[in-house]
Symmetry: C2
Subunit: 335 residues, 2 copies
């Protein structure tokens, strides 16, 4: 023990061991539409309790807890939404993303953390846990259903990188909700999108393409992104939130297929959580590495240098990183 | 949605939904003796992995994650303990309290948060969950086994409030690990302690009393604190970490028994998480209310005014609050 005079407080330890309660409290509040109720004018515990059909005591304690955790504010006029809650947790907001809790707290994903010690020992998901990238895992339907709102800002930012209006062919790997390809299709009326994902997921991507009015330019290829035939002659291939699930060797073999599918001069767009070289900043991309340790066999939050190496290994050049208005990073490279 | 110009970041929402991973990561690190390994000189992922028998990849990712969460620091010389980890998470430290994770993350306690929405609806622990204050719940043996190190500073601070050296009789209600009564017995060689708790718990309290050399002045009463006979003529009754498990009416009926057991002029010492009147500060006592919502039928983190009322209702007077070097508050009142 390296003492330095005054005894520190164990509060951070207590707070960290109790942190699981924060996830549970926010999930409960989202599922109860508590933030929407406050946005609609219920500001006291009795008013909130009445509107969302819970006990007054439950409403009071949950709202106080959310206030402690800076998701609400408490004033003389009662509970108020903080800016983030107003923007993202009230269903009255067009940017509502409460649905992400359904994916992020899926039992399959959460339960792997019960055996985290085993994942640390093995260096990847434990033998009795669920590898989330296993075949046709239903979490990806939930992902497609729930995570789209979280990805809209990144999808729009990516679309802005591709300003062409001439006819282009875009391959959207592991398209999920489809937001990335759809954003490109909306920006360029002459873009044709080919979306790859499991069959059950593609139904949702197609529904979103229909909602966006681009279904006539939207094709799908059902199956495992590692095994299906992509076709060729693509101008752009989107590889979003994909590489972090696999180790570098697996990514290299997969990027080889992407490279082959592109026309000369075509570009790959990779969206990732990219920590700094120190791997401990910024907080969100750096922390994401633990999720991959617990949920996959070899996935990681790769640094820019690692991703560049994976891309250059298969022949890509001019690898560039673009900051986004989200905690993720966009890499673009050219064939 | 009340917009205020610039769009806020959803990072706090993402971070809160993923907060459960912080608890799991710290628990895994404690169970693997990772902090002790670093304290003993392992500072790189390979060195740590080798010392605690885990994969290098697992050690690297877990250490980076703990660094993001300020439980480690990462320098050019590798991973280092922060002051709190050095004081409380290395087994080389006399103030080691890693054992508290065994209680705080007991499945019985944690699982209730899976159904938090039901507790919010009902205003207390759900019908399919475990009320932690139910009869002979084994969590209290775990509590007695694990939580003593966390309570030592408070126990010492309480003992300092009672400076008498003449013979006194002390009743320690729900004694648990016994730390509070034992601290008084050590301070006053003429103090006799009577500890009340479930039989399985008292075995541990007695073992601790023996370790402290006070077993000859240590008696026990096994059973439910609400039903057993306390005896009478006590100078001091300790009611530590007890009242938060019950509603005000239950506490009042229990404090009546305490009052009756004291001699005139005797004092009750109540240790509690006491939030400010706003109920949202300080963070730790305020947040504790949610734990009681999820784990008990009617428990709460009571404010000073509420606790004073519970005490005065049965006849106590001169209710005083004493700040402690921990996030809890000591209340002392006189018969």
């Amino acid at each position: 023990m390296s003492t330095t005079g005054r005894m520190p407080s164990p509060e951070i330890i207590f707070d960290t061991l109790f942190a699981y309660q924060k996830s549970a409290a926010l999930k409960a509040a989202i599922d109860l539409n508590l933030f929407t109720a406050i946005d609609e004018g219920a500001h006291t515990a009795p008013a909130i309790a009445s509107r969302i059909s819970v006990s007054e005591r439950g409403a009071r304690i949950l709202c106080d807890y959310l206030t402690v955790n800076r998701l609400l504010a408490k004033t003389d006029d009662g509970y108020q939404l903080v800016a983030e809650a107003s923007a993202f947790l009230s269903k009255r907001s067009p940017a509502y993303l409460g649905s992400i809790a359904n994916f992020l707290l899926r039992p399959e994903l959460k339960n792997n953390f019960e055996n985290l010690i085993e994942a640390v020992r093995r260096g990847g998901v434990g033998p009795n846990d669920t590898d989330i990238v296993s075949n046709e895992n239903p979490v990806w339907v939930e992902f497609a259903r729930s995570m789209m709102p979280m990805m809209i800002p990144a999808a729009q930012a990516i679309a802005e990188q591709f300003t062409a209006v001439e006819p282009i062919k875009v391959l959207d790997i592991a398209a999920g909700h489809g937001a990335f390809g759809i954003a490109l299709a909306r920006r360029n009326p002459n873009a044709e999108i080919v979306a790859v994902d499991w069959k059950a997921v593609l139904g949702l991507a197609e529904a979103h393409a229909k909602d966006a009015g681009v279904l006539d330019r939207y094709r799908t290829i059902a199956g495992d992104a590692f095994n299906v035939e992509y076709g060729s002659g693509y101008d752009i291939v989107l590889v979003t939130n994909f590489l972090h699930h696999f180790d570098a060797a697996t990514n290299t073999s997969m990027l080889k297929k992407v490279y082959a599918a592109l026309k000369p001069g075509g570009r790959v767009a990779v969206l990732e959580f990219v920590p700094n070289p120190d791997r401990v900043s910024p907080p969100m991309p750096a922390a994401f590495s633990l999720t991959m340790l617990a949920e996959t066999a070899g996935g990681d939050a790769f640094t820019f240098a690692e991703l560049r190496e994976q891309l250059e290994n298969v022949g890509f050049r001019d690898v560039e990183a673009h900051g986004l208005p989200t905690p993720q990073t966009l890499l673009i490279a050219r064939k």
